[in-house]
């Protein structure tokens, strides 16, 4: 177990380092650019971390599954190793993102803000909370959101691996179409359905009775979602064959 975890973490750490170097470069350029040109910029760069998590999740099943199966590791250990690795990566990335958020807030010359999911979704709440509670909410929400993105990617990649050719085409073509094309179409063609979906999303994320949102309800929702997707992934991994 330790060996699987160590191998995956070291392997993915390289991608993580490259990702944050790119982010650092972009932020530095943005800070310099805004200082030269004047004005301020609210950057949604922090959201890219969630996409990074999704992509890593999408890429990490097949290669590790093959390697570990070749080396006499059972599926349940492969799965447990992957989950632990995702938990560690989520923790590291949430810490990095929150750190970036705080550093850019603290720097007087930095007129670029780094927004994360939690700082955006629960901005009303975190702006009025004490520093410790704010930090806690930022970290936990970021961690859970990243884990959900990781594990969604992981589940999709297992489903893709296990699907016959038509299923693979369906996933490869259908999923991006659904996200990129489906949502705008739904928004325009069926605004009521879209509005209901949005209000349901806000409700489960803690926006039922307060305008600033309740991040703790959001945390419970994200934990439940994580458990459900992790459970589905486990079932999918258990049935995977070479």
């Amino acid at each position: 177990m330790k060996k699987i975890l160590k191998y995956q973490c070291f392997d993915l750490a390289k991608a993580l380092v490259v990702y944050y170097l790119v982010i650092l470069l972009i932020i530095s350029l943005a800070v310099i650019g805004m200082n030269v040109a004047g004005g301020t910029e609210r950057s949604g760069l922090g959201f890219s971390s969630e996409f990074f998590c999704l992509i890593v999740g999408l890429c990490m099943f097949r290669e590790y599954f093959y390697l570990f199966m070749q080396n006499g590791v059972s599926r349940k250990k492969i799965f447990a190793g992957a989950c632990m690795c995702l938990v560690i990566l989520s923790a590291v990335m949430s810490a990095m993102d929150v750190l970036a958020l705080y550093i850019l807030e603290a720097l007087p010359a930095a007129n670029v803000s780094y927004m994360t999911i939690s700082s955006t979704l629960y901005s009303g709440y975190v702006n009025n909370a004490g520093p410790v509670l704010r930090l806690l909410v930022e970290l936990v929400i970021s961690f859970l959101v990243m884990y959900v993105f990781f594990v969604v990617g992981y589940l999709i990649s297992i489903c893709f691996y296990r699907s016959p050719k038509p299923g693979k085409i369906g996933i490869a073509v259908g999923l991006p179409l659904l996200v990129v094309g489906g949502m705008p179409v739904l928004m325009v063609a069926f605004p009521e359905v879209f509005a209901r979906l949005m209000s349901f999303f806000l409700f489960i994320m803690g926006y039922s009775d307060t305008s600033s949102g309740n991040p703790f309800i959001g945390m419970v929702t994200l934990i439940v979602l994580s458990l459900v997707i992790t459970g589905l992934s486990y079932r999918a991994v258990k049935g995977a064959q070479i």
Partner: protein, 286 residues
């Protein structure tokens, strides 16, 4: 109990029955030849034993312990086949290190020594190796892993005659130094005939023969003579003897027989030994 026990394994893929109720035992410290024509079910059997595929029915146990999803049992086995399961961008030397991580008994020094003998460039990425060198890479892993059960599925795929000979010599050397169970699945029967001790012949998912090479060859023969003489001899054979094939050239006939010691061979007929490849062809061509 030491060894691998395969019990009532069946496996189907859509409408193809790959294995039918296969039961056999791989005993400890023996070299097996798993022989069968293309699509006979050899690779499927090895994949099931090594937990890469699930059977529809039956089970596999290693040293008396069920092996499916059992890490302890899986660590006693190593399967190489034509499919490279290491990341393609990984270098050969890194693959050795990774294997050492998961199999602490992996002899990295031996792997490096074998790489030199085979002239395998360990700094190369696995994907950049030719078909032959990919086979060599996998064979080196299998010859250095030091586990009780090693499965070689088509180990000489794409290898030239020199490298094939080197592989067989190293395998025997390794086995004589530290005996282990080696199961070799191959089409090159003539080459492997002198290496294996036990022969398992599989046909359309069923085990046709499972006995020692010596006993299978001692009890098998070719009987040649005129058609009428050969036919009357065949008619007089005991029930345990089995005619597995025949050739007719002009007025002469040859029959291939299993389970006949030739003790009652009449004059005018000639009895000659049959080699493993010929036996295999006759057994699997019917």
């Amino acid at each position: 109990m030491k060894g691998i026990e395969v019990k009532n394994i069946s496996k189907s893929f859509k409408d193809t029955q790959a294995l039918r109720n296969v039961t056999l035992t791989f005993e400890a410290e023996k070299i097996y030849g798993l022989l069968g024509r293309n699509g006979a079910g050899k690779s499927t059997l090895l994949n099931i034993i090594s937990n890469r595929k699930y059977p529809n029915e039956g089970y596999v146990s290693v040293d008396g312990v069920p092996s499916a999803e059992n890490d302890e049992a899986l660590r006693k086995m190593f399967l190489i086949n034509e499919m490279n399961l290491y990341p393609e961008s990984m270098k050969v030397k890194d693959a050795f290190k990774v294997t050492k991580t998961f199999y602490p008994s992996f002899d990295e020094a031996n792997a490096l020594k074998l790489s030199e003998m085979f002239e395998l460039n360990i700094k190369k990425k696995i994907k950049s190796l030719s078909t032959g060198y990919q086979s060599i890479f996998r064979n080196i892993l299998a010859l250095s892993v030091n586990v009780p059960y090693v499965f070689f599925d088509e180990p000489v795929l794409g290898l030239d005659a020199y490298h094939r000979d080197l592989f067989y010599r190293l395998l025997i050397e390794k086995y004589s130094e530290e005996p282990f169970t080696a199961v070799i699945s191959t089409h090159l029967i003539e080459e492997v005939a002198n290496v294996i001790e036990e022969v398992i012949i599989i046909k359309k998912g069923e085990i046709l023969k499972n006995q020692s090479r010596d006993s299978i060859l001692e009890n098998s023969c070719t009987v040649s003579g005129t058609i009428s003489q050969v036919d009357s001899y065949v008619a007089s054979l005991p029930a345990k003897a089995e005619v597995i094939g025949s050739d007719v050239i002009g007025g002469l006939k040859s029959v291939y027989i299993c389970g006949d010691d030739g003790a009652r061979l009449p004059e005018g007929l000639e009895r000659s030994p049959i080699d493993l490849q010929k036996l295999f062809i006759q057994l699997t061509s019917m």
